[in-house]
């Protein structure tokens, strides 16, 4: 086959919720302020200011790991509508947003399930009953869609999705390599309206350090018009300057920084605290019993912020247990003795 024959092959029928537009993104970033100013705010204000009805959201971390739970609660608390969700392994994060009935469209790689823990009824209902709009992808496909946008390109050629129904219901296209003629899946860049991520350390300007795996966060923040960061702790700017090799995200990408200790709870924050499996189980139980609305009422709408939610879930005592689990301290009884 000559290269000339190799154009306009198959294409997926899935809706593109965001059209790739590298030049449009460049125009946006041309105007994005670079000024190093303090960006510290509260989760409440950040959600009020940056997340509107209809916003397309890119979510950081991996399902129950290093997720900005406080921001998702606040989106539900403020009853945002018609939120678009980029769901590459969106497990508890997707569950909160779907139980809170704020999502109306979803780029799905892995949603509905919580990995080994089981399936979320709220998320299933969103797909089976409430007719949320969905386009299929895979985890690599969404990671590479972020990467394309992060590189300032309209697409990336890859070798996934090919030959499957996942491709058919995606928004990808088959293309041919201009050099070798081989078939490739062209994945459209995904520029999101707002990226929300949770990190270990940030300074007041938005420089961020992430410990452990990045998942896709460093690419994700480059494809977002606005970036909201929650951080376990605010640290002095001078510390970032002394540890430049640990800085994963530079301040000029970031629009808002909120200090939220234990902000990933009930998820797992590497080196800090393990996931609260009991509480995640409670979510799944409430969903399967049809009691999720009153649960959301009690735990989200009736709490004024994430600190109150943490208190309801056992507060600092529970966090200390999860910290021991994370650090593989086995003799819990002995340590509990020390608490008295």
């Amino acid at each position: 086959m000559s290269n000339e024959e190799l154009v306009n092959l198959e294409k997926g029928i899935g809706e593109l919720f965001v059209e790739p537009d590298a030049d449009g993104a460049r125009e946006y970033f041309k105007k994005k302020p670079r000024k190093k100013v303090p960006k510290v705010t509260t989760v409440k204000k950040a959600v009020e200011e940056f997340i509107e009805d209809g916003t397309y959201l890119g979510v950081g971390g991996f399902g129950t790991n290093r997720i900005p739970t406080a921001v998702y609660h606040e989106i539900v608390r403020q009853k945002k509508k018609n939120i678009g969700l980029s769901g590459h392994t969106a497990t508890h994060d997707g569950q909160i947003l779907m139980a809170g009935k704020v999502v109306d469209r979803c780029d799905a790689a892995y949603v509905v399930g919580l990995e080994a823990r089981g399936l979320s009824k709220s998320a299933r209902d969103a797909f089976e009953k409430y007719g949320i709009k969905v386009t299929e992808w895979s985890n690599a496909a969404l990671a590479w869609r972020y990467k394309a946008a992060a590189m300032g390109l309209p697409f990336l050629p890859t070798r996934v999705l090919l030959g499957t129904d996942t491709f058919k219901y995606s928004g990808a296209k088959v293309m041919n390599c201009p050099f070798t003629g081989q078939k490739l899946a062209a994945l459209p860049a995904l520029n999101v309206d707002v990226a929300v991520i949770h990190v270990h350390k940030a300074d007041i300007y938005g420089n961020c350090q992430i410990e452990g795996i990045e998942v896709s966060d460093t690419d994700l923040v480059k494809c977002a018009k606005r970036v909201i960061v929650t951080t376990e702790e605010l640290v002095p700017h001078s510390q970032m300057r002394n540890e430049t090799d640990k800085v994963k995200i530079p301040y000029f990408l970031v629009d808002a920084v909120a200090e939220v200790p234990f902000g990933c709870y009930p998820g797992n924050m590497a080196y800090r605290y393990f996931s609260d499996e009991e509480h995640l189980k409670l979510w799944l139980e409430k969903e399967s019993k049809g009691e999720i609305e009153s649960f959301i009422e009690e735990y989200i709408h009736n709490t004024k912020d994430f600190e109150e939610y943490l208190e309801l879930c056992g507060g600092i005592k529970r966090i200390k247990e999860l910290r021991r689990q994370e650090n593989l301290i086995e003799d819990l009884e002995e340590l509990e003795g020390l608490d008295q």
């Binding site: 129950t64 790991n65 949603v111 992808w137 690599a140 996934v160 090919l162 996942t166 795996i213 590497a270």
Partner: protein, 259 residues
């Protein structure tokens, strides 16, 4: 349980573990595949590099991870990196094996983990979707599946082709653009171990587990199976393998306790 008795899950994990070679690379999820990789490290493949799609690489797994992205997946590991990077290792050809599962599998090893029902717009059941499965099965050299064996799962046609096996037969992966030489390798169930024949890339029984007969396998498979000319009995777990599995890999019985 005493002596060399074992349950179905222990048998499947042990058989899977023996398929991994020393000094090779594998991407696994949580659950039984992870247990198989951990057992393999303690037996046939001490230098196996275990990777997780969220970015964890080469951990000295202290306990079974509960998420593919939790902090156990890079505990005392080689590197804590990104999802794109792990997938790029797969795409560049550095990943030898992967383990997958699914709600349905057909005779060419295609998997469904997206919907049950024939109407995509109105699914009877919505499942999680591909996650990394499509990627790993597209890009790793050898894909293995570990799954219970029943006719609801082993179907003539999957309701939704989430993850590529050999698609509609020999040569179809390459025609679609998938990397040459990659594809399904083994299917390990609670009844038998299957591979794929050379002519049509159809599932073919290679070994039958103790106490199981051909009829049972046929009755639990929704398509016509091929049978290897060199059909053998599956070799049950050794005492040493069982001890390692129960005491070192899964001491709390998270996975092996489910059988």
């Amino acid at each position: 349980m005493s002596g060399n008795e074992y349950n179905k899950m222990e048998l499947m994990i042990t058989l899977a573990s023996r398929n991994l070679e020393d000094n090779s690379t594998v991407v696994v999820g949580t659950g039984a595949p992870c247990a198989a990789a951990m057992l393999s490290q303690k037996t046939v493949a001490p230098n196996l590099v275990i990777m997780f799609e969220a970015g964890g690489m080469g951990p000295q797994l202290p306990t079974m991870p509960i998420s593919v992205g939790d902090s156990r997946t890079f505990y005392k590991g080689i590197q804590a990196t990104s999802m794109a990077e792990i997938m790029e290792y797969c795409q560049m050809g550095m990943v030898d094996y992967t383990f997958l599962g699914g709600a349905q599998i057909d005779k060419h090893g295609n998997l469904n983990s997206t919907i049950i029902g024939d109407n995509y717009e109105k699914p009877k059941v919505r499942l999680p979707g591909s996650g990394g499965a499509n990627d790993l099965a597209s890009l790793a050299w050898n894909t293995m599946v570990m799954t219970p064996h029943d006719s609801k799962r082993f179907v003539e046609k999957v309701d939704f082709l989430t993850t590529p096996g050999y698609l509609s037969g020999k040569g179809k992966r390459e025609e679609a653009g998938l990397p040459p030489g990659s594809g399904p390798y083994k299917v390990i169930t609670d009844l038998c171990v299957m591979g794929y024949d050379e002519d049509e890339k159809r599932m073919q029984v290679e070994s039958i587990h103790p106490g199981i007969d051909r009829k049972q396998i046929e009755e639990n498979t929704g398509f016509e199976l091929l049978w290897s000319d060199d059909l053998v009995d599956s070799k049950p777990p050794t005492k040493e393998e069982l001890e390692l599995l129960r005491n070192k890999v899964d001491p709390y019985g998270y996975i092996i306790g489910r059988a």
